[in-house]
Amino acid sequence: MTRRSLNGADWSAMVLAGSDHLARHAEQVNELNVFPVPDGDTGTNMSMTMKAGAEELRRKPQSEIGRAAEVLSKGLLMGARGNSGVILSQLFRGFAQAVAGQRELTVPLFAAGLQQGVDTAYKSVVKPVEGTILTVAREAARHGAALARRTADIGEWMQQVRDKAAETLARTPDMLPVLKQVGVVDSGGQGLVYLYEGFAAYLRSGASAPESGREGGAHVSGAGGRSADFRAASGAFAPGSSAAVRQSAQSKIDTESIRFPYDMEFFIRKTASASSRFSEAAFRKELEKDGDSIILIDDGDIVKVHVHSRRPGDVLNAALAYGELTNLHILNMRDQHRDLLRPADERPRAETEQERPGAWGEALGVEAASGVPAVEDPFGADRLPPGQAPHPNAYEIAAFGVVAVSAGEGNGNLLRSLGVDVVINGGQSMNPSTEDLLEAIRSLSVEHVFVLPNNANILMAAEQAAGLADRPVTVIPTRSVPQGLAAMFAFREEDSASLNKERMLQAIDRVATGQITRAVRDTRMDGVDIRSGQYIGIKDKTIVAAADDLGEACRKLLADLIASGDEVVTILTGEGAEESVTEELLAWLEDRYPEAEIERHEGGQPLYPYWFMIESD
């Protein structure tokens, strides 16, 4: 069956077929986790993301390709789960931009769409890593563009794009050493191959892809049909996981090492003439000359700008070319950082944030949540005596709210007891979608929301939700519940958002996380030989212990985690913890580390019998 063009309905059917094909292979993608831990879920995340998009298409059928792509893009954006799901949503967001306004999709347009998708996805990742879904998508798109000059048959073209994707996938272990070490290919890339495979099969036969089982995907000789996870994708620990995620401000710990010291936030209210000539890409380029951490949200009349810059004057001048500037906030992060190094009572108070009150919501014309009038808080924190927190009542909007992701009832209660307002259940084996996070953010009647993802694989969805929110949101890149607890402990309602952010980032640095789980396959990682079924101990991102005996694995891990011996050691028991093992462990700790302060709580997390939180000064 030869097709030269697709309308919105044809294309939607293709997307559904691809989504189904991916869903059928989700489990195989899950198994491609770099880490032999039981919560590998790249396949689940990608499949659920795709399903959310497909569901949206089913609800709002479109006959024009431009419209259909837009509907899919929206569905994917909100349904994105896990870092691989977020990247998938960005691929189709770019695609939708490329085909906007078009009625039918031809091969050249399809090729242009894939290319723009790749560009968009690369932009969404601050430090793209090669050997991941990004590489697979890029190589496939490049091949598709070249091929578009030779064939007009969409089915044939898509098949070759899929083949190129599979070929690139097979080379991912050569690009990302951790894949080679484990002997797998990238899991996110594998998911994309399945998706394209479903597209191609539909286009060529008009039906869904034949059940191809494990043969459907890419093969890596010697990898036993396994492919690997995109970077961290499913675990909280995968090496290199920091790479694809927004670079954390922890690297800014040395005051002078803050390269772009001015943290700027403002809105451009576009003039009529600027509306048409404003180009997000061009403006971004301008900012990149001397800045980083750039976030631009073009809302039509208003552009929200966030940048860390060395030359705030240049940034403002560049922005002025497009219109009037409002709600300007400029902070010197070096100052803030120096403040942090000073004793608390010498610090200037609230110097940084007269800001915030409803600033972003106001400018974007958004009403305050829950119908509460967005009155200027007459008892605003800055007018109270120092140290006195505002007492929210029905007529006031609190300054801050906190959303955290956590698995296990006990852990949720611990987080809530430290001031978390909404706990989203998930993280281990179930990642919340962008929409889940956004809903939680929106449920709070506060001016500024902090989000603690507590899992590396939720970072990007959290960032995506932050970008879509109607008010300022700060994502603290916590990779574990212990990091989340430490961050909350450092949080102070009465201080500014930026000071809280810095303090929480530092708190994360002072806590080490230990996790005990069962290996799901034989492997050798980080110099440790691991047999399937053994208990493994993971220190932050590294496997440091493997043992058949639960207690032994715990002791090995703790011995590695505890450095000086006077740390605060918190044990969070999860499913699979044993009372006798816990008791023995407490006795062992008290005996071996008499200077340590030890406490235990029932965390209730699945898959991980023990989490350890080690706090040092």
Binding site: P343, P385, A389, S417, F489, D566, E599
Partner: protein
């Protein structure tokens, strides 16, 4: 005529000091169920904490009546002595209000000054002691009031409670309420602010870090200056307090040290295992202060 100094039982001034200086003490009351006791009079600290441990319900406390004050004030007024009456922070108790009422009943009959110390325990006990010493030397009411006001401002208070439970139940938790209910072991470092309300200065994970944090705060406040330290401790298990005091004595140049017990009323609201530190720079000691 020399001023008469009156205070209440929550000043936690040891009996011998009180008697030596002739300070009048009006007791608050502690109620265990139906049984009522006069704070620091027929219920002594050690005895109280034994009862507290044995009791299933938290005792209640009540302020002295205006009549209790009236009786003492009018005795002095009739003798022609001015009265300075120094009391527990009005944010914690109606004691100050009762004293004010008694004063108004004596309106025009004599010179009664009632002071809201905005402090608790020996934090204002030391003010009463200072006032009594000055009065004995014949200082004027005005000089005494000025002096103790300054002294109050110069004195830093840090206190630790074993748990915020007691402050919370008694409704005295003030601005530390945000820290109440944390399931992790968090030690808030508390103080009483200029309004007389309990306020957290900082919080630490575990006792050791709380001690270290207090030392840091003292260093930031006083540097290497010689200090005078007054510690108030609940009787019973004082291992924690001893460790803290020992650490401070080792680390700082403490010229004068005084230790007292936290009485039943304050103990009811702060709970067992509370330790309070009142710290002043020793160099602030004028010639008017003598041990």
């Amino acid at each position: 005529m020399n001023a008469a100094i009156v205070t209440d039982s929550t000043a936690d001034i040891p009996r011998d000091v009180r008697e030596r200086l002739g300070i009048d003490m009006i007791p608050l009351k502690v109620h265990f169920g139906e049984q009522s006791y006069l704070d620091n009079v027929d219920l002594q600290p050690a005895q109280f904490y034994e009862k507290l441990k044995a009791s299933s319900e938290l005792p209640k406390t009540s302020q002295p009546s205006p009549a209790d004050f009236y009786e003492v004030f009018s005795r002095h007024v009739q003798a022609g002595r001015p009265v300075i009456s120094i009391h527990l922070s009005s944010a914690f108790s109606g004691t100050y209000q009762s004293a004010l009422l008694a004063k108004s009943m004596l309106e025009g009959e004599g010179d009664v000054t009632v002071i809201d110390s905005k402090s608790a325990s020996y934090g204002f006990g030391m003010l009463a002691v200072e006032a009594a010493e000055m009065a004995r030397r014949g200082a004027s009411v005005r000089d005494i009031v000025d002096r103790i006001e300054r002294m109050r401002k110069e004195t830093k208070l840090y206190f630790l409670v074993d748990t915020l439970e007691y402050l919370h139940k008694g409704g005295r938790i003030g601005k530390a309420s945000a820290l109440f209910g944390t399931l992790l072991n968090i030690k808030p470092i508390l103080t009483i602010d200029d309004e007389g309300v309990i306020t957290p200065l900082d919080k630490a994970r575990g006792q050791k870090r709380a001690f270290a944090r207090i030392a840091e705060m003292l260093e930031a406040e006083f540097g290497a200056n010689p200090l005078q330290l007054t510690a108030v401790v609940t009787p019973g298990d004082t291992a924690m307090a001893d460790e803290l005091i020992g650490m401070l004595q080792q680390r700082f140049d403490i010229r004068r040290f005084f230790r007292s017990e936290i009485g039943p009323v304050i103990g009811t609201h702060a709970g067992p295992g509370t330790v309070g530190l009142f710290v002043r720079s020793a160099s602030l000691d004028g010639q008017e202060t003598r041990a």
